[in-house]
């Protein structure tokens, strides 16, 4: 495959491991062992079993008829929202907790934005009886409160990060600092295809089950494994990486992604990394990131906590550079509208992150005979607060006013 990492952990010019010496031993141990561990028969057996019996895989591939009627083509939803804990994040945490166990680690740390990765990590830590600490930005603790409660009930300690924009970037900084302070017994369970090598590759492998199943399910339903287009949202890029993985070299399949444009790409409050970003280093990886001309990382904004990140995984930076992936900036309002629409047409309340992927649809010209798969990365319970505020706002204001103004402050 031309979109895999080289021996130093780079996708083209992106990736690598730009870490301080304090992390060298742990990272190089992981680099040297992760493939051996995850390719072993015993690991694969346990991983697949847990995915099936614990997470509830395979996730259905659902033909969304009313959505298809509206936009044309045949639209399938890959129902990652139906997984245990409510998103794709569980695919990765099951994989990594098994890696941690193989490496004899006793303490699990993680960062979280929307709280979905935090919940998925707290869940598998409970399952394995391991201590779990989750870092979460102060703003996210507030806006994703239901997930904070879940993590606590699952026995995790949730530590609030107060630095910077108090979101995912800052939670990640704190998790990395924790790992520096606890180099012996701790495993850092990263939630997306970000961070130093080998994390982007390892997480992509664990999420690749999404496209593996898609191929089989499309074979059954359509008689051929390839859709015409795959749509996914990108925070760090793990659900997108999983949905694209087995199609990366298959150029007939178009890859489309949505990123959080917040209040618009020119508003100064955005997380549209592919447009606003440039090459640099964030969280140990060379990739696209939002930064000042002086190399200070910019504080991003998106209503969606899972997309509120100033970087993007190195695989996606590479795919963008190679023009293999087309990225659409999606505003808060567009995503809220898409969430409403899916709820109305299909009776499915999506996560705000996943709603960004749905919001690509109105921007496409779709042929009648086309097959599209949208990766519905998560469910919307955690976002009910934002959705409710949006309904309330809509009742009081005409919609066209809303589109033009940024009066809606969730």
């Amino acid at each position: 495959m031309s979109y895999t990492i080289d021996e130093n952990g780079y996708y083209g010019s992106y990736g690598g491991a730009y870490i301080p010496e304090m992390l060298y031993r742990n990272i190089s141990q992981l680099q040297d062992n992760y493939l051996k561990i995850i390719n072993s028969d015993a690991f694969q057996k346990e991983y697949k079993q847990l995915l099936a019996d614990y997470a509830g895989r395979p996730s259905p591939l659902y033909h969304a008829r009313r959505l298809s009627d509206k936009y044309g083509g045949k639209i399938y939803l890959k129902r990652e929202d139906l997984n245990h804990t409510g998103s794709h994040k569980i695919n990765n945490t099951i994989g990594q907790i098994l890696v941690a166990k193989h490496m004899n680690k006793k303490r699990i740390i993680a960062e979280t934005g929307a709280g979905q990765h935090g919940v998925a990590t707290a869940t598998v830590s409970a399952l394995m009886g391991l201590e779990c600490v989750v870092y979460m930005g102060a703003l996210d603790v507030k806006r994703q409160a239901p997930n904070v409660a879940r993590m606590k009930m699952l026995g995790a300690k949730v530590i609030t990060a107060h630095s910077g924009s108090q979101t995912l970037k800052d939670a990640t900084n704190e998790a990395i600092r924790d790992w520096i302070n606890n180099p012996e017994d701790t495993y850092y369970l990263i939630g997306s295809v970000v961070g130093p090598h080998p994390y982007p590759d390892m997480v992509a492998r664990f999420q690749s089950i999404i496209s593996e199943e898609m191929q089989q399910q499309l074979m059954e339903k359509e008689g051929a494994p390839d859709p015409d287009r795959i749509l996914a949202c990108i925070g760090g890029g793990s659900n997108a990486a999983g949905a694209f993985y087995h199609y990366l070299d298959n150029k007939k399949v178009q890859l489309l992604a949505a990123e959080g444009a917040g209040k618009g790409i020119t508003s100064g409050e955005s997380a549209a990394t592919s447009i606003l970003g440039s090459d640099g280093i964030i969280h140990g990886s060379k990739t696209l990131l939002m930064q000042t001309s002086d190399g200070q990382i910019t504080e991003p904004y998106s209503l969606s906590a899972g997309l509120d990140y100033p970087g993007i995984g190195p695989l996606h930076a590479h795919l963008i550079k190679e023009k293999r992936l087309h990225v659409y900036p999606i505003t808060d309002i567009e995503a809220l509208e898409a969430a409403m629409e899916l709820t109305t047409l299909e009776g499915i309340i999506p996560a705000l992150e996943s709603a960004h992927a749905l919001a690509i649809l109105p921007k496409l010209e779709i042929r009648k005979d086309e097959i599209l798969v949208i990766n519905l990365s998560g469910r919307g319970e955690k976002d009910m607060d934002a959705y409710q505020k949006y309904f309330t706002y809509l009742k009081k204001h005409p919609k066209d006013e809303l589109e033009k103004s940024f009066l809606f402050v969730p």
Partner: protein
């Protein structure tokens, strides 16, 4: 021979880390011009970064203040230009890699030469990447480099670091981010002893967690000297830096 190289041949060296632009740009200039009088042998001048992964709260906060004060790499070199009119005190550049990349590596090296910065510490530039991508250009500009050695660094790797070090070996006192206070533990002492017993051919400086006369003097028994960062910055914040320095060598 470079001035810093000469100094690093000495013993009981005292080095201070400060964040450029904290608490103000003017104060940074004052400190740099006066600090030699307090027995400081050389300074690490930190370029503030928005996301300093290896740093604790003190340096995070001083960095945030410095960035708000408008500290950029261009300003950093302006500060050094002013400082150089008054002192040839050795200044080591310390900063994360991203800013050097945005500034342009070649341009960065030239600027360091212009203001007589002789040595660099780039905590997130790993040895391997340095060897592959940066060694040639730093050597061309005669810039020395110092690498961190931590309690988790293997002996084999310490020897590799020794080989590639052209400045000094920065011995990180414990497995932690910067700014930890508290007594030096037995474990830390064992780490110091191990490093000393390796009889390394390059100068060594112990840093991270050095915060008073006692921890400074202990470090000096095992290395060429010690580096004080967060604690100095705490005293700068309290406008008590001069007093703090006098307590170290009293």
């Amino acid at each position: 021979m470079k001035k810093i190289t000469q100094i690093l041949e000495g013993k009981n060296l005292l080095s201070i880390f400060l964040t450029a632009g904290f608490p103000t740009v003017e104060r940074t200039i004052e400190i740099l011009t006066e600090i030699e009088d307090y027995g400081v042998d050389f300074v690490e001048l930190g370029m503030p970064f928005s996301d300093p992964l290896a740093d604790g709260e003190t340096i995070q906060q001083s960095s945030a203040v410095a960035i708000r004060n408008g500290m950029t790499l261009a300003t950093y070199f302006e500060v050094m230009k002013i400082v150089r009119k008054k002192t040839d005190l050795p200044v080591v550049y310390m900063g994360y890699l991203n800013q050097i990349l945005q500034f342009g590596v070649e341009q960065f090296c030239r600027k360091c030469n212009e203001v007589n910065i002789e040595c660099l510490i780039i905590p997130d530039l790993p040895l391997e990447v340095y060897e592959r991508e940066f060694k040639t250009i730093f050597e061309k500009h005669e810039l020395l480099i110092s690498f961190l050695v931590t309690p988790t660094t293997s002996d084999e790797r310490i020897l590799k670091i020794e080989e590639l070090t052209t400045g000094f070996m920065y011995v990180v006192s414990s497995s932690s981010i910067t700014g930890r206070r508290g007594k030096i533990t037995k474990k830390q002492r064992a780490h110091y002893e191990k490093i000393k017993a390796m009889k390394l051919n390059k100068p060594t400086m112990i840093g991270f967690g050095i915060h008073d006369k006692k921890s400074y003097e202990l470090a000096c028994q095992y290395a060429n000297g010690a580096i004080i960062g967060s604690e100095f910055i705490r005293y700068v914040a309290k406008e008590n830096a001069a007093y703090f320095l006098t307590t170290l060598k009293a």
